[in-house]
């Protein structure tokens, strides 16, 4: 009988291999089952005044590691006035066709509000006890490369839907294709992946997969302020013993048509894997919040965007076949975390492809912003773009696309720099050194002699040059480049800060660009930040151990630097990377601190991992300082980011006579070099273990690498133990590998 059982087991293994061999092709494609199992439900909960937990908002997330790292939206993780969050409850997909089962609490490890992405870590069970994440063996998926996507690629979006008469509330898969890639200020090209899939708002934070089964995006939509969209009232949240409109409701409306690409999530996930967080800076005072209501103004269109995020030329119409169109606008009095939205109609019909569903604002209080695209042909028609903030209409502009290209006069491609007596401009770019004169060069085409035009220069929103209408000179010609400049008045040097040049053709805005005046000119470049250095200890805002190499044992790494002529409020960006892998990036208004030294810090949950840590400082998207420090060996351990691509071994152990599952059976996988007959019952010889549950089900607590042979032992009191050697898991075996094993009574 024992031999028979072993034979049965071997047959089962062989059959599994055969079956999986036939489905090997599916291994490289989208694995819906694994994606659904890796999808989690995230419930944002808060407590009432009397301590009762209430649900404020719900969303989805995706497990990106077996140890419980979850990728989701920042608005789901961090909460807001709309979605108050004291606790994040994680529900797992235990049965594919059933709603999620609330199982854990999670904490936020990393987040980027602007990108609306966050990484959570499962930390506690629902009874509040800490989880040993090293023993978690949760199903997960790996973030893929979103840059390889193309228009019309098929996408599968996985997330939770609301439980109603149409849905069981289980993790669902929605399919569609990529309809566009949207560009947006601060992020640049492919800030959003647009899809024609119908994705309910509840799926926000879930996962979007390409045909290869890689996680390439996160469906994203912000819940709108209370009262502006559908929501569900499920609890007596105000404690008045009645459930009515006065109770807090859970947003349930809206459809997602935009995905945040995985490119933006990779750094956050890697930082979480390394246990590194940003530790702030020596600026402690928060900027005062604007008192006036948010406003969008000066809406206009451009046919292109420069590397600095500025419009190449202003347009009022474009011909048929246009691929590149951008809506630019000024904004003021906005607060990061507000919800904004772009609604687009073509000939009066709402168009999701060129719209942007409600999303988190991250541009700071004021500045110039844009949204547009350049990879999809914009259909002919009358376009109306409407901007909303916090669900309220805040601005609108329209443009007509169609017809043949016209040879109208144009100004374009404004370039700022330092003039040098007839020679090409020096220190060109959108960051100019402090000085007395600003010079700009622009391209003109089809200009008739005598045409009326003018230039207008602004500093921090205030015009600093008088109106100077002029006629186009015949000497300048119809096509070419022209320089304009603005100089300070005697005794009043131009101040560091944000400037703008507007060029008008008649009274029509024809070209515009912003630039920052900051730093000092050093030969042909601008020096804004200098003396970038590192330290592991800062005492009283002074580095105690400045250097570029540090021992493995440090827990914090400070970078210190000086700045030159950088006005308060000027947007600047810092970017941390380790071994060339970007981890964190943040753009914020400059807030000078007391003294001349500014520091930023990163820290580890334990020691900082060995590696080369690089800090890059940018203004207007231009690198203005960069330095690297080595910790320990100066490089991350080999395979730091390698995820366990292996096979999940699971199954059921039953009584051969009754067919009933046997609880408590120990399923042991021995190390490859330990044959079952040589096993001396020491844990050092064991690779993985599982103990069957009350139904006889077992699941190993880690993935088994492929290409290795495994030896198994199955043992339970009252039954004959069985063992088998040489279970080979090659590339053809599909995960999970399910074994059904019968035990005979002894």
């Amino acid at each position: 009988m024992r031999r028979l059982t072993i034979l049965l087991l071997c047959s089962a293994l062989a059959l599994s291999t055969l079956v999986t061999g036939r489905t090997a092709h599916a291994q490289t494609g989208f694995d819906a089952v694994n994606a659904q199992r890796a999808t989690v439900s995230i419930t944002q909960m808060t407590r009432t005044a009397n301590g009762q937990p209430i649900i404020s908002c719900v969303g989805s997330g995706t497990l990106v590691s077996a140890s419980g790292l979850i990728l989701t939206n920042a608005h789901i993780a961090l909460g807001s006035t709309r979605c108050k969050t004291d606790m994040l409850v994680i529900g797992l997909t235990l049965q594919l066709d059933e709603p999620p089962v609330a199982t854990y609490y999670a904490d936020v490890l990393e987040s980027n509000i602007g990108w609306d992405l966050a990484v959570l870590q499962i930390t506690r069970s629902l009874d509040g006890r800490p989880i040993d994440r090293s023993v978690l063996a949760l199903p997960f998926v790996e973030p893929g490369d979103s840059e390889t996507l193309n228009l019309d690629d098929t996408l599968s979006i996985v997330g939770y839907t609301n439980s109603d008469e149409k849905s069981s509330g289980a993790a669902a898969v929605r399919r569609g294709t990529i309809s566009n890639f949207t560009e947006e200020a601060r992020v640049g090209n492919r800030a959003w992946i647009k899809t024609n899939a119908v994705i309910p708002g509840r799926m926000s934070g879930g996962g979007a997969y390409n045909n290869a089964g890689q996680l390439i995006g996160v469906p994203t939509i912000e819940p709108l302020p209370s009262g502006t969209e559908a929501c569900r009232i499920v609890q007596d949240t105000n404690g008045d013993n009645r459930i009515d409109a006065k109770d807090t409701c859970i947003p349930s409306g809206g459809y997602i048509n935009a995905l945040r690409p995985s490119r933006l999530a990779r750094g956050l996930v890697r930082a979480a894997q390394l246990g590194i967080t940003t530790g702030g800076s020596n600026v402690t005072d928060a900027l005062p919040k604007p008192k006036d209501p948010p406003a969008f103004s000066r809406l206009f269109f451009a046919s292109g965007v420069s590397a600095a995020g500025m419009p190449t030329s202003v347009v009022t119409s474009l011909p048929s076949g246009t691929k590149s169109l951008y809506l630019f606008f000024d904004y003021a009095n906005l607060i990061d975390g507000m919800v904004y939205e772009l609604r687009t109609t073509i000939d009066g019909v709402p168009n999701a492809t060129f719209s942007l569903a409600p999303t988190t604002w991250s541009g700071g209080e004021r500045g110039l912003w844009y949204i547009g695209s350049r990879e999809q042909v914009w259909p002919n028609g009358q376009y109306v773009f409407t901007l909303l903030v916090e669900g309220v209409r805040a601005g609108s502009a329209q443009i007509t696309l169609g017809g043949a290209a016209q040879t109208a006069p144009t100004f374009s491609d404004i370039l700022f720099g330092v003039a040098a007596d007839g020679r090409p401009l020096l220190a060109t770019g959108n960051v100019l050194p402090a000085g007395d004169t600003i010079t700009a060069e622009f391209v003109f085409n089809n200009m008739p002699a005598g045409a009326r035009w003018r230039q207008a220069w602004y500093y921090e929103g205030v015009q600093i040059t008088p109106p100077t209408p002029a006629s186009w000179s015949d000497k300048d010609g119809a096509n070419g480049k022209k320089r304009v400049s603005a100089a300070s008045s005697p005794g009043n040097a131009l101040q560091p800060g944000r400037y703008r040049l507007e060029l008008y053709m008649g009274d029509q805005l024809a070209a515009t660009s912003d630039f920052v005046m900051a730093g000092k000119q050093v030969i042909d470049r601008v020096n804004v930040f200098d003396n970038v250095s590192f330290a592991s200890i800062v005492t009283g805002d002074k580095p105690s151990d400045p250097g570029t190499t540090f021992n493995t044992s440090i827990t914090r790494l400070y970078t210190t630097f000086n700045w030159n002529e950088l006005a308060a409020g000027t947007p600047w960006t810092w970017r941390w990377s380790v071994d060339g892998n970007p981890l964190f990036e943040s753009t914020q208004p400059w807030q000078p601190t007391v003294g001349s030294l500014f520091w930023l810090r990163i820290e580890g949950t334990g020691h900082l991992p060995d590696g080369s840590y690089t800090l890059e400082l940018l203004v207007q998207g231009v690198s203005m300082g960069k330095a690297t420090a080595k910790v320990g060996l100066g490089q991350l351990p080999v395979n730091t980011f390698a995820t366990a691509a292996g096979i999940q071994l699971q199954g059921r152990v039953t009584d051969a006579e009754t067919g009933q599952g046997i609880p408590g059976v120990m399923f042991i996988v021995l190390r490859g070099d330990v044959a079952s007959k040589e096993f001396t019952w020491r844990m050092t010889e064991v690779d993985a273990i599982s103990i069957s549950d009350s139904q006889g089900q077992f699941q190993l607590n880690r993935l088994l690498p492929r290409g290795v042979s495994y030896n198994l032992i199955i043992v339970a009191r009252g039954y004959l133990p069985i063992s088998t050697d040489g279970l080979k898991l090659d590339d053809k075996v599909k995960s999970p590998l399910v074994l059904n094993i019968e035990l005979n009574r002894d």
Binding site: W681, S694, G718, P721
Partner: protein, 196 residues
């Protein structure tokens, strides 16, 4: 056939059969007992502990990350794996055994569901050493959320021996229903415990 019909030889054969059957039975029982009571040695030079644990139990030697010196589990036990372990706690000069029981209680209450201390009493070990025994119970639940196990009520005992600035804690964990039945393993374990 009557008894009178049996020859002497037949009578001897009958008695011999009975004797052989009895001897085989006794031999089987002894063999089973020997197998069940067979032990393997374990020693740890760092803590100076040596002990014998049941043969064919799964042995795990603690590392710096673990809170035990050794742990042995009965792999065949159903549904909870009967476990015997040894751990060592460094103590200050003024610490007494009740500091240790309090420390253990707090640690376990934070880690184990439905933890409850049942009894704390002084005991004498087989070799005459004085020790303190703390019994407690908790609910053991599977950590893998995919497996559907009903938590098992576990009964446990810590035997605490203070020795040269450290507390040696021998722990016995068993399913509450088989606690008494398997306690002989723990008794034998304590009997063979050497503190060097």
């Amino acid at each position: 056939m009557t008894e009178q019909g049996l020859t002497l030889r037949q009578r001897w054969a009958t008695w011999l059969t009975f004797a052989l059957a009895f001897a085989a039975l006794v031999g089987g029982v002894l063999l089973r007992s020997n197998t069940e009571n067979a032990t393997f040695p374990f020693s740890d030079t760092k803590t100076g502990l040596a002990v014998r644990y049941p043969a064919n139990w799964l042995l795990e030697r603690g590392t710096e990350r673990d809170d035990f010196v050794m742990r042995a589990q009965d792999p065949a036990a159903i549904p909870f794996k009967t476990t015997i372990s040894l751990s060592s706690l460094l103590l200050g000069q003024d610490a007494n055994v009740y500091d240790v029981t309090e420390l253990l209680s707090v640690r376990r209450a934070a880690a184990l569901s439905s933890y409850r201390t049942l009894d704390i009493s002084a005991i004498t070990l087989p070799d005459g050493l004085q020790a303190t025994q703390m019994t407690y119970s908790y609910a053991s639940a599977e950590v893998n959320p995919s497996l559907k196990s009903i938590p098992v009520m576990v009964r446990a005992a810590d035997v605490i021996i203070l020795n040269k600035g450290q507390a040696i804690v021998a722990t016995y964990l068993a399913d509450a229903q088989s606690y008494d039945q398997n306690q002989h393993y723990f008794g034998e374990f304590l009997r063979r415990l050497e503190i060097r």
